[in-house]
């Protein structure tokens, strides 16, 4: 089993105990969905900044929400919707990044889910 930590190691571990304050009462996923309530463009970097978490974690949450049917990935290339299109060679969508939109389930969760009264979790 792990040895007892010392020095810088112990200071780093303090970060484990501090709650993620930006998550608020509704939890980090709820806080992310909350930010999608209002229309407009968001990047994972924007969301990460607002939620005070890493961009990689926002990516993980987005992937999870997509798997659970709250978000839907939109075609990042024209291959899906335009397979029969003779002009797809002139399509410029290929260079855009991946995108996601709320599904009806995600929209409902973003707009109607009541915030619970939970404290931030600690071990």
């Amino acid at each position: 089993m792990p040895a007892r930590p010392r020095g810088a190691h112990r200071r780093a571990l303090a970060a484990v105990r501090d709650p993620i304050t930006t998550a608020g009462e509704q939890g980090i996923v709820g806080a992310l969905l909350e930010r999608l309530k209002v229309g407009g463009f968001r990047t994972p970097a924007d969301l990460a900044r607002q939620l005070g978490i890493s961009e990689a974690l926002v990516g993980a949450i987005i992937a999870g929400l997509e798997r659970r049917g709250y978000l839907r990935a939109v075609a990042a290339s024209c291959s899906a919707g335009c397979s029969g299109c003779p002009l797809r060679a002139s399509c410029v969508l290929g260079g855009l990044g991946r995108g996601w939109v709320l599904t009806p389930r995600g929209r409902r969760a973003a707009t109607t889910r009541p915030a619970s009264t939970r404290p931030a979790s600690t071990d």
């Binding site: 089993m1 792990p2 930590p5 780093a12 571990l13 484990v16 501090d18 709650p19 993620i20 509704q26 939890g27 980090i28 996923v29 709820g30 930010r35 999608l36 309530k37 209002v38 229309g39 407009g40 463009f41 968001r42 990047t43 994972p44 978490i53 890493s54 990689a56 974690l57 990516g59 949450i61 992937a63 999870g64 798997r67 659970r68 709250y70 939109v74 075609a75 024209c78 919707g81 335009c82 299109c85 003779p86 002009l87 060679a89 002139s90 399509c91 410029v92 969508l93 260079g95 855009l96 991946r98 995108g99 996601w100 939109v101 709320l102 969760a109 619970s116 009264t117 939970r118 404290p119």
Partner: protein, 674 residues
């Protein structure tokens, strides 16, 4: 822990878990070597691999390794996930080794959060440390180990680093199962209470060896397999109670997932640092300007300006050269070669196909510039920023990032723009986007304007092109605002989009994109445009072999009242009408009408004196805002669900384009006279 105790050997069963592409197979192959057995999981089509490892210096100990299928989570979403969790629950391995890709630590730790709810000790193998370091991700394995309160082994499996240490940790953990007390994500008290209530309701129906609390948690998460299993074991009235409770907490998964992600966030905050280096810093620096509300827009406009300048300064002269040597030279050569052939043959080939479709092919230098710039912007990662910057301005017309996606496509071609609206959920927003999509100037329209503007306006052509694109986009915005305000309404949708990191352009990728688009253009020029060129030539030649008394002249003159409002004669009106088949036909038609029988084959020389500046500008304005080509109309009909909206759109665009043209002509004439 159950450790199989043989007469001479002790067997430790270890399950290797992990997400796909984390190097799990590499670790498995290194540990098992030639002792692998490959088959299928019982009753499944999922491959099962098992093998044995004998640790050096550990006589009488056999480590049996079972390679679980790669899974992102442990919900019953796929056969792989069911196989993986069933093995841990039913076979109770002595240990689960979770192989983690450090470069994607957050995603991988979610699987750990789920594994920790199962009844088996977990050891984490931090793999691909080298890949993570290269991406500027620095992980402290010792800190992570203290934070997780379970053994963590750093490794680079492909270099055989850390594999021996992993074996030692496996043996040590298997010997001392009592010391295993990891940090687990705690769900919030409200969900905890619901989970306990559920556990109480379903406990009698949970078959062995499923842990009751895990089953309750999975029910709350909406796990279909567990729901089915419990439903079959409860009476209908008992299930009704469970179902009602679940329905009241339909989105409990969001709370449960939140607690796991927050747990991950705290672990990562302690053990991972990401000093921003290289591409990331470069991207941040460039994006400070490129995604700025004001400077970003200015950059978009500057790039647009640069494209026009390139098209005008380089593309147009090359187009002129092609016109001189390919179309004019080719026509006189054809006339010579076909001197003895019937008049109509040299006529249709030289004055029809070559003057029409041939002239369209002279666009190529201009199109190559458009194609190359589009491909370059795509490849370096800038294209997505245009959508991001423009989103702010799309708000004004009720369109959002998601609508801008398809509209951005429109700069290439309006057809994929209309098809691209499928990504918009709201039917109203989708229809609105379809209706305004033809106002985005496509490359074909831009090429026509790039050819004609210098003929009408000489050196001022660059500024005219700028103004025309500005007019198109302003009309698009204004139409959108009006349609949104008076005809539609509805809520705005949010859209998440990843902005790719900037990188140096790849010549091969850009060349390929330019090549594909060029081939598509040449096919179009060689197909529909050749057919229409022949048709225009036939109509302009018969029945009298005199253009002024031809069928086409008759058709064109029937539009004379319209032409009068725009200051255009019948040839120009016909050129405009033929653009309905394909935008390039404007040039093809002008090529035929202004070169045959006019004592010279230079389109520019013949066309320029016949059009006043006011009429020329009116013509270009109508050309930019005119009804889209027939292919676009066909997809508008298809995507809007019938002719109704396609006809509304055609009517709308006709009114807009002709009114704008008439206003420009009147004002232009007045200014010129003044």
């Amino acid at each position: 822990m159950t450790v199989t105790q043989g007469a001479a050997t002790r067997q430790i069963t270890v399950a290797l878990a992990g997400q796909p592409n984390v190097g799990k197979s590499t670790v498995f192959n290194m540990l098992t070597g030639l002792s692998q057995h490959v088959g299928n999981w019982p009753g499944k089509t999922v491959e099962q691999k098992t093998g044995v490892h004998y640790a050096r210096g550990e006589e009488g100990v056999e480590i049996k390794l079972v390679d679980l299928p790669g899974t992102y989570s442990l919900t019953a979403d796929s056969p792989e996930e069911r196989v993986a969790r069933d093995f841990v629950i039913k076979e109770r391995p002595d240990l689960v080794v979770l192989i983690v890709n450090v470069a994607a630590l957050e995603r991988n730790l979610y699987l750990l959060a789920e594994l920790l709810a199962l009844p088996a000790p977990v050891v984490v193998a931090l793999n691909m440390l080298d890949v993570a370091e290269r991406r500027g991700i620095h992980v402290e394995p010792a800190v992570l180990e203290s934070a997780l309160k379970l053994p963590v082994v750093p490794m680079i499996a492909v270099k055989n680093q850390g594999v021996r240490e992993l074996v030692q940790v496996i043996l040590r953990t298997a010997r001392d199962p009592a010391g295993y007390a990891p940090s687990r994500p705690q769900i919030d008290p409200e969900q905890q209470r619901v989970a306990q209530e559920l556990e109480r309701l379903v406990a009698p129906a949970v078959p062995a060896p499923y842990p009751h609390d895990w089953v309750a948690l999975k029910l709350l998460e909406g796990d279909t397999e567990i729901s089915q299993m419990i439903r079959e074991r409860l009476s209908p009235s008992e299930w009704e109670q469970v179902d009602a409770l679940l329905l009241r907490h339909e989105d409990a998964i969001l709370e449960i997932a939140s607690s796991r992600y927050e747990w991950i966030a705290r672990m990562v905050r302690a053990a991972v640092s990401r000093p921003r280096v290289g591409q990331v810093v470069l991207t941040d620096e460039i994006d400070r300007v490129a995604t700025h509300p004001f400077w970003g827009l200015l950059l978009v406009l500057a790039i647009l300006g640069a494209v026009f300048w390139l098209a005008y300064a380089i593309g147009a002269p090359l187009q002129g050269l092609l016109d001189t040597y390919f179309v004019e030279g080719g026509a006189s050569w054809l006339h010579q070669v076909l001197a003895g052939a019937p008049w109509w043959l040299s006529g249709v080939l030289a004055d029809g196909v070559l003057a029409g479709a041939g002239t369209v092919i002279t666009f190529l230098p201009i199109l190559l510039i458009f194609f190359a710039v589009l491909a370059l912007l795509e490849d370096v990662g800038y294209m997505a920023r245009i959508a991001y910057v423009m989103d702010r301005y799309m708000h004004l017309m009720g369109l959002h990032g998601k609508s801008f996606f398809p509209l951005l496509l429109g700069f290439g071609c309006n057809v994929p723009a209309v098809l691209g609206t499928r990504i918009i959920d709201s039917p109203k927003a989708r229809l609105l986007t379809i209706l305004v999509a033809p106002l985005v100037p496509c490359t074909a329209r831009m090429a026509v304007v790039t050819v004609l503007a210098p003929i009408f306006f000489g050196a001022a052509a660059f500024w005219v092109m700028w103004a025309l694109v500005g007019l198109s986009l302003a009309t698009l915005a204004l139409t959108g605002v009006l349609l949104h305000r008076f005809a539609f309404g509805g809520k705005h949708a949010a859209f998440i989009m990843e902005l790719p990191l900037y990188h140096l352009p790849n010549v091969r990728t850009i060349s390929l994109a330019v090549w594909q688009r060029t081939v598509a253009f040449l096919k179009k020029a060689g197909g529909i445009i050749v057919v229409l060129s022949v048709l225009v030539w036939v109509l302009a030649t018969f029945p009298t072999r005199e253009m002024e008394t031809s069928y086409l002249a008759a058709i064109g003159r029937s539009f004379a009242p319209l032409g009068a409002h725009l200051g255009l004669d019948w040839q120009m009106i016909v050129a405009l009408l033929t653009s309905f088949v394909a935008k390039e036909n404007t040039i093809a038609t002008l090529g035929i009408l202004f070169t045959s029988g006019r004592g010279g084959t230079d389109l520019a020389a013949n066309l320029a004196p016949t059009v006043t500046p006011a009429a020329g500008l009116a013509f270009l304005v109508v050309q930019m805002l005119f009804i889209p080509c027939v292919a676009t109309v066909a997809v508008i009909r298809q995507e809007s669900g019938g002719w109704k909206w396609a006809l509304v759109d055609l009517g709308l665009l006709l009114v807009i384009s002709l009114s704008a043209g008439a206003i420009v002509y009147r004002v232009g004439t007045w200014l010129h006279a003044g």
